[in-house]
Structures are given as C-alpha cells and as structure tokens.
Subunit: 338 residues, 2 copies
C-alpha cells in the first residue's frame, strides 16, 4: 500500500513535509518517498529517494516550508509491489509534453501485462510509470490544441481501463496547472478544501507523514488537499467518486459555471430544491441540471432529501447542501464571481 | 558567462558542493545553479534553483557528500544571457530517451534563431534547452540500436553546427553512463584524471564553487573531472580539444583499445617513438596510428618532439608522453587490461 498526497492552491504557497510513518512503525512504506512541485508553473522539480526517510537527510530537510513553493504539490510514499527499490522506480514520475512537465504518482497494482508505450518510455520497471507513459502517449496523440475536457476524457478512459485490471488504481497527476485525481471502485482518495477564514497554523498529520500548510493564511487563499486517507479530524473530508477523473485547479475542485450556479442556488434556498426548480430558477435545461447535480452529489457537495420517493435523476428529486461542506461552500461562493 | 562542472567515476561516489562565487563576488552567476546526478545509473535527479545560492538552504544542504552519490555528476552556475531567471530556464535540463534520462548543461549564447524541435519541446526560453532538444531529436531519429560512435558523431555534428553560430558553445551532456564534453574554438573546458594513489581529501576549489571529492579514495577508484576552468593548482589539467566531442566513461577519457595500446607503447619506450615504430611495434596500420596519435595529442597525453622537422602526421614524426600526465597515465595503465 502506498499513500498519495496532493495540493492545489490559488497562489504559490510554502509546504513543509515531515515523514513520520517510517519512524513510527519501522516497516511501513520503507521503499521510497517523493514529492514534486512546480517552481514556475511549467517545469517540475522532483525530490525523491528509494529509501526510508528515517535515515534520510533530505527528508529531514523538507520540513522547512521554504523549500517547496508551488501552486501544485504531489507527494507519495511507497511500498514496492512491482519493481526494485531504486530511484527510477520511485514516485512521482515526470515527463515533458507540449512544453510542460507532467507529473504522476500512483497507488495500486496493475495485474495484467501492459503494452509498451510508443513515445514515452519507462525508465524503471514499475507498472505505475508504464501506465503514466501510456496515458501521455494518448495525450500526445490528442494533439497540442486539445481542450481541458478532451484531455480529461482521455485520462479518465485510460484510468478506467487500467483500473479494470488492477487490484486498485488511484493516482494523482498534474500538468502544473491542474491537479487530476482518480480512484478506482476499490481504491481510496479523499479531499477537503481549505477556505478562509484560516486557522493560525495548519498541520495535516497521520501516522505516515505530516504536512505543514501554515503558509496558507491569506484572506484570499484557497487550497484543496487530496489524500489517500483523511489527514485531520474535525474538518470536512469527502471521498472522491470512484472511476471519475476529478479535476482541481487554483485550490478548488473544477466545477463548470453551471455547477457553481446550481450550488449557489441550492445553498441560498431556505428549503430543499427540486431539479425542476433549479432548472427554472437559473434557466438551465433539465438534462444539464441532472448531470450537474449528479456530479455535485458525487463530490459530496449536495445530498438528496431522504423524504424523496423518486430516483436522484427524476425532475422531482430534491436536494440540499451537505451540512459538512457548508462552511467551505459559503467561503468559496462569497469569493467567486459567477 | 556560466561555469560547467562534470565528474565521472568508475563507481558511485559521494560528491559535496559548496557554492561560493555568489558569496565572494556578489554579482557573479546570480541567476541560478544546479546539479544533476544518476542515483541508479538510468534515471536522473536534478536539484536546481533560479536564485543566488547565498540565501539558499538547498545550496547549503548540498555541502554534504551524503546527498549526491553517482558515477556521473554535472553541475552548472548560470548568468542569464537568454531567458528569464526562472526554474525552467535553469540548467541542467533532462529528458528521457529510449528509457534513459539524458542531461545537459551549457555555456555560451547561440545568436541565430533555431528551429523548433519536433519531439522534445523546450519548457523554458533558453537557447540551451532548445539546442538540447534538437540534439535529442537527432538521437531519436538515429534509433534505439545506435552504437556509441554513431551517437557521438550525431552529437558532435549538431554541436559544431550550433557553435558555428554561437559566441561560444561549451556543454556537458550525459546518458547516465557516458559524460560527453564539447567546447567550441572560442570556448573553454579543461579536464583532469584523479587516479590512485589518492591524497587524503580532495577539494577542488575556485572562486565560484568548491567540490568535495573526499569519497574518492579507494585504490581502485578513478575519476575524471571536467570544468570550465582549472579548479586546482599543482595537478595536471589539460584543455579539451576544440570542436571535438570528447567522451568520458568510468572515470577515464574514452580511448579505443588501439589508443590505449599506443599510449602504453610510447610510455614504456625509453626514447621518443615514431609513428612508423608504433605501427610496427603493436601491429596497427600507419593511418590508424596517425589518427589515434592525433587524438592523444589533442587530449594532451602525447607531445611531438620539438626536434622533428616533419608534420605530426608524417610516419617519421616522433612522440613522447606529456610529463604532466605521466603520473595519471602510469596509474591508469597499471590498472587496465589491454
């Protein structure tokens, strides 16, 4: 089992890592740890090692939040399933595509032999790096001018295919601008959004590592955190929907303008609201509302009212905002212009 | 002006860097510094920053020889000529080709507009990264099965082309196994070989940075160092020949078996030796001896006797080993099997 951590913020922030799991348990994730970030938003800096952090001066060094400054950070701790314990098999991996570095960190084991990628060749022996190279091949085929949704569809298609022959298949991926997150049905990835007002210092800790986000404190700073497990108690973490590629950008899950409008409309309504009401209220057709509400439910932003006797896609189905997410929703809605 | 440093050793060694030029002069090479090495011989680790080292905790950190352990190390300090002072424009650059990371660091300014590479796209705006991508495109065209000499010829051809429209064009490049070095007519690159018996501790220092090679101390450890300027006094540094790609591997300049044999033959002879004598003595035809001797002269291993009245390619031209290089030559010849 490996652990994934991802962060996206609306401005470059300092992030400090302390790796603890190795120390605490001795045998967990001894096979490597790594972190990637984007000092200038285009080119990636990777720091990783194929050894337990307990005797690593670099791991000690990364405690300081002055080292990593970025809008996007991905980190990984590894317990090897395939591939020797060497640098080239340590996550995250990076490759350049169309003048940007893409980064990838993965958790799970692909149990079927995969084809050799055509353009991007793995340096190591992991299924993870090969999957990454195969996804990049597809993105390359898609061409330079492809839009975000086209790219997301390709990544999601490949991810679903790989997860169909994996025990589990969770990954975080980035192009320096977006953070892409995917978990398989059997996998695990959670997210939270840190929106103002911020507490004085923010440390996210579990038994494996600790992340110091105390640099995120400005009244206009928003950050989304994605992790294999909830890293804190007492704040709202939601599970990412299975088999869906979720896009984060600038500290928030990526929702369309319509999705934000729906969220706003439901939040501002004093009672539960039906799909039909939403459609009328903001002038979007029913099918689009059904699709958008489904995604907002999957992201645990909306909930269907338990008194409903219809399915969640019925025009009479009614919804309210997840109470656990309301502080986050309010904070975001007060800051974005729709 | 930038500074280049390269190291190749016959086994992975610890290398400590201390960056001093920034401190000493304040305005030299303030635009970035970087180092690349190969923890497992295939995949490259790059540590670099687009700022003066004087206020950099990472630069401080790299003093420790426990961080960098590799058979090959390339380092660079930058004074920007083209491209903003940002991470993506900081040397060294890396790209994967045929399942290996290639690394590149450059010194000089290319004054003509270059074409856009087809496969490898620059992330930043430097002429250096673009030249690197163009060279890799050619190597990719050459195909996976190409031999070392074919690859070297392609790199040399491209390097000569770029240097023909550069003020100067010096670079160090590696595939994790070989260290390739090139300097243009107007450029500067020097090399030395550290062969046993080793002095207790080895620090190479100039006003810009200091390299701690004290880990190189074994009786069977050999290292070649290439640098823009001679980093020490009191040991033998030779200038690399201009417009030639010089290959280093496993701590030595790459010479063919015939070239080593010639060197051995000349060294063991009590007097100067003619090309004709060498040809007869080791059974290689004259043309091959002429070519090999020319290269050994360019590498400052051999010198033509000043009493000669013929050109150095004449069969009667006579040669002896460069006295400054004899300690190195003896140490190497006693260790390699020919």
């Amino acid at each position: 089992m490996c652990e994934l951590f991802g962060l996206t913020c609306n401005r470059p922030v300092g992030v400090g890592f302390t790796w603890r799991g190795f120390v605490a348990r001795g045998i967990r994730h001894r096979d490597g740890w790594g972190v990637v970030f984007y000092p200038d938003g285009l080119s990636a800096c990777v720091i990783k090692e194929a050894r337990p952090s307990i005797d690593s001066p670099i791991a000690q060094f990364l405690k300081s939040a002055n080292i990593i400054r970025s809008k996007i950070v991905i980190s990984h701790v590894r317990t090897a399933s395939k591939g020797a314990v060497v640098y080239r098999n340590t996550h995250p991996f990076i490759r350049e595509l169309f003048g940007r570095d893409w980064a990838f960190a993965h958790n799970g084991t692909i149990i079927r032999e995969m084809p050799m990628p055509r353009f991007y060749e793995p340096i190591g022996e992991t299924d993870s790096e090969r999957a990454f190279c195969l996804i990049l091949d597809k993105l390359r085929d898609l061409g330079r001018g492809a839009g975000l949704q086209e790219k997301a569809r390709i990544i999601e298609d490949e991810a679903r295919r790989f997860s169909s022959f994996s025990d589990r298949f969770n990954f975080l991926m980035s192009d320096g601008e977006h953070l892409f997150a995917f978990r398989s049905e059997t996998g695990s990835l959670h997210y939270t959004v840190r929106a103002p007002p911020h507490d004085a210092a923010v440390k996210l800790a579990d038994e494996d590592f600790e992340v110091d986000l105390s640099d995120i404190k400005g009244e206009d700073e928003v950050a989304a955190v994605v992790a294999t497990r909830q890293l804190t108690v007492g704040e709202s973490w939601a599970s990412l929907p299975p088999n869906k590629l979720v896009i984060f950008k600038d500290g928030l899950p990526y929702f369309s303008k319509e999705q934000w409008n729906i969220l706003k409309y439901v939040r501002r309504s004093p009672h539960r609201v039906s799909i039909r009401d939403i459609s009328k209220g903001i002038g979007i057709d029913i099918d689009e509302v059904v699709r958008s509400v489904a995604y907002l439910r999957e992201m645990e932003m909306l909930r269907q009212d338990s008194r409903d006797i219809v399915s969640p896609t019925h025009p009479d189905a009614t919804f309210y905002t997840n109470p656990n997410m309301r502080r986050i929703i309010d904070s975001i809605l007060s800051r974005i212009s729709l």
